[in-house]
């Protein structure tokens, strides 16, 4: 379906409301869509992004489940195999551990194992992100676990506009799509058009154009990279900032095109750096643009430890603009 109709009205909305709008459009548009998750109906989710939907669509379309993540994903896989279009909620991304078999061995593989006969149009909304002092089991960014599984798609909206548009695209997609939200972005304001629109899955977004440096970001790190780009500009570095938006499929082409122009690149994500999705991006760059590179690809991510509780530790744990600038200066020798 086409992108935003330019005539529609656009408002400034917080990320949290953009999520609601995305889910509302899905429920309006698809009679077979329903929402299921813990405290999504009565409470409207612990972060409030389903608020109002129970009243609007009724209890046949939005279901509070028991605290049974394996059950939630199983419900979605079975219901999808039987023809529905589930929108599932896993309250915190950390809890995918509870249902990883349903995700990795059932949802991701069913279509392939069955020779293409099963179609699983499932959308899973889940909340990632550190910075809220929620410690090791409520703060992780685990997109690399999911992106490693053939059969799944994984998107990470960084803005209110993308949150709504990617949710709608995910629900229209006939594959299982994880929409990885970030709890530290919920209050972020941004332009959001009224009505339905899609942000295409698998297309990166060049948010800032630049001449001699490429920064590829996942999710919330977009904002940090844009701040860093301003600081780098004062050092004579004109950074291009690319929001990957989708990690599976990943828009290698957009990144390579940029690196061919800038010759130097960095990838930034919130997840643990070692073995993170940034390693895949760096590998893609060196495979496809080795001859263009003037420096090794730099990576910024979290240190190799669980997310600490203490504000003093979490502050240095989560990547930010300052760290991006420090790493860039080391990489570039400036």
């Amino acid at each position: 379906m086409s992108a935003v109709a330019s005539e529609t009205k656009t408002r400034q909305l917080p990320y949290v409301v953009a999520i609601t709008e995305g889910v509302r459009e899905v429920l309006k548009e698809q009679a077979n869509a329903f929402v299921a998750g813990e405290d999504v109906a009565g409470a409207g989710s612990v972060y409030g992004y389903y608020r109002g939907l129970l009243d609007e669509f009724g209890a046949d379309r939005i279901y509070d489940t028991p605290i049974s993540e394996k059950g939630i994903i199983g419900l979605g896989v079975g219901a999808a195999a039987a023809g529905l279009r589930p929108v599932l909620d896993i309250m915190f991304m950390d809890f995918i551990g509870e249902c990883m078999d349903e995700i990795a061995n059932q949802m991701a593989k069913m279509r392939f194992m069955f020779g293409g006969s099963a179609t699983l149009p499932i959308t899973v909304l889940t909340m990632a992100g550190a910075g809220a002092n929620l410690a090791a089991q409520h703060s992780q960014s685990l997109e690399a676990w999911l992106a490693h599984l053939p059969g799944l798609k994984v998107v990470m909206p960084a803005t209110p506009y993308d949150a709504k548009g990617l949710i709608i695209a995910a629900a229209r997609d006939d594959n299982p799509v994880f929409v990885v939200l970030n709890k530290m972005s919920l209050a972020m304001m941004g332009d959001v058009p009224e009505g339905p629109y899609e942000v295409p899955i698998g297309k990166a977004n060049v948010v800032r154009t630049g001449k001699n440096y490429t920064i590829v970001t996942l999710g919330r790190m977009l904002g940090q990279a844009l701040d860093a780009a301003k600081q780098l500009a004062e050092l004579g570095i004109d950074a291009e900032v690319i929001d990957a938006r989708s990690v599976q499929p990943f828009d290698t082409e957009a990144v390579i095109k940029s690196v061919e122009k800038t010759h130097r690149a960095m990838v930034v994500h919130e997840a643990v750096r070692f073995g993170g999705f940034g390693a895949e991006i760096a590998a893609q760059i060196q495979e496809h643009a080795f001859d263009y590179l003037d420096a090794p690809v730099a990576r910024v991510g979290a240190p190799f430890s669980p997310v600490p509780f203490s504000p003093a530790l979490e502050k240095v744990y989560v990547p930010n603009a300052e760290r991006i600038v420090v790493v860039a200066r080391e990489q570039l020798g400036i």
Partner: protein, 339 residues
């Protein structure tokens, strides 16, 4: 088939009556939990405690009535609502507040916070951010006790909501199959977050689930510390004798919101319901009983409260004066470097 027996109140038909010394011990444990939590709630509201805080106020009789049977060599696993369990197991206020403040002097050096507060020396294998995370771990600790031929037991505390996680069911089955010295204590406070029990499970009594695993299921009034004491005493004695696990369901209530004191202000419980349960405040009920039995006068009870409150003030000061963890410590404790 498992037998399901139900005790209604602490009328003493199950186990021996607690001695006066035990009653006073239970009382002190409850009072310690109550004031610790009340103060923690205020500190959170004042912005001094970061992150999420799940208060145990209202459920004190459960932790105290169970823990008074245990030594430091008996293990427990706890939940996101874990302060009460640690306090009843002998937790030190200084190190607890320090942990909630994220200081290096805390039980977890500031790395865990409220949701991961723990102490191996006290046999407290952790609060848990994962609902249902505890029961399999308690089952494993019970296995270790049996493996070593010790008489120690492991107790898993978990909620009504957690009883819907597969982890609980797998742990219960294995503990029963291997006849492990485990006790599954379900603190049924009627809600998992903002969802009432009737909307998250089709059974009224979680204890009924024991039948599926061939273990006794017992129901007690979780606001009555003596009832909890008696039922826990029997379950723990069974476990120590090698007769296997018990599922003990304590009907209780949390007085504050799911998170923090007032929480998100959602309208999921009626004021009437909250008031009705608060009338059965476990500490007030217990103090009335102790006064009636001439075990503890009103004045003596007040002295206990005052002592605990003074200890709390000192502990909060200790926590506030404690240093934040050194940034370099971030990469410590990920792996053991000993072996």
């Amino acid at each position: 088939m498992a037998r399901i027996h139900k005790t209604v109140t602490g009328d003493g038909f199950l186990a021996k009556q607690p001695t006066n010394k035990t009653l006073l011990d239970i009382h002190r444990r409850m009072v310690r939990i109550r004031h610790f939590e009340e103060r923690a709630g205020k500190l959170m509201e004042d912005g001094k405690i970061p992150g999420a805080l799940h208060l145990y106020v209202g459920q004190e009789a459960v932790a105290a009535g169970v823990m008074v049977h245990l030594t430091a060599e008996d293990q427990i696993t706890s939940t996101h609502r874990g302060h009460g369990h640690l306090i009843a197991k002998g937790g030190d206020f200084d190190r607890m507040y320090a942990e909630l403040f994220g200081r290096s002097t805390g039980y977890c050096k500031g790395k865990g916070g409220s949701m991961h507060i723990s102490n191996m020396d006290l046999g407290m294998l952790g609060a848990n951010g994962i609902v249902g995370g505890g029961p399999p771990i308690a089952m494993g600790a019970a296995f270790a006790n049996k493996f070593r031929k010790s008489k120690h037991v492991a107790v898993a505390f978990f909620g009504d909501g957690a009883s819907n996680e597969g982890s609980f069911h797998e742990a219960a089955n294995m503990a029963s199959l291997y006849k492990l010295p485990a006790i599954f204590v379900c603190e049924n406070n009627g809600y998992g977050e903002y969802t009432a029990q009737a909307n998250h499970q089709a059974v009224v009594d979680v204890a009924d689930r024991a039948a599926g695993y061939g273990m006794p299921g017992v129901i007690v009034d979780g606001m009555d510390a003596v009832a909890v004491y008696e039922a826990a005493g029997e379950a723990i004695a069974r476990a120590r004798k090698g007769q296997g696990p018990t599922l003990l369901e304590c009907k209780t209530y949390r007085f504050y919101d799911h998170v923090g004191v007032r929480g998100m202000g959602l309208n999921y419980r009626t004021d009437d319901e909250v008031k009705k349960w608060m009338k059965r405040d476990p500490i007030k009920l217990f103090e009335a009983r102790l006064a009636e039995q001439k075990v503890l006068s009103k004045k003596q009870a007040e002295a206990v409260h005052a002592e605990v409150l003074a200890e709390i003030e000192a502990a909060v000061a200790f926590a506030e004066q404690s240093p934040m963890p050194d940034v370099a410590s971030l990469l410590d404790d990920v792996y053991s470097t000993a072996g």
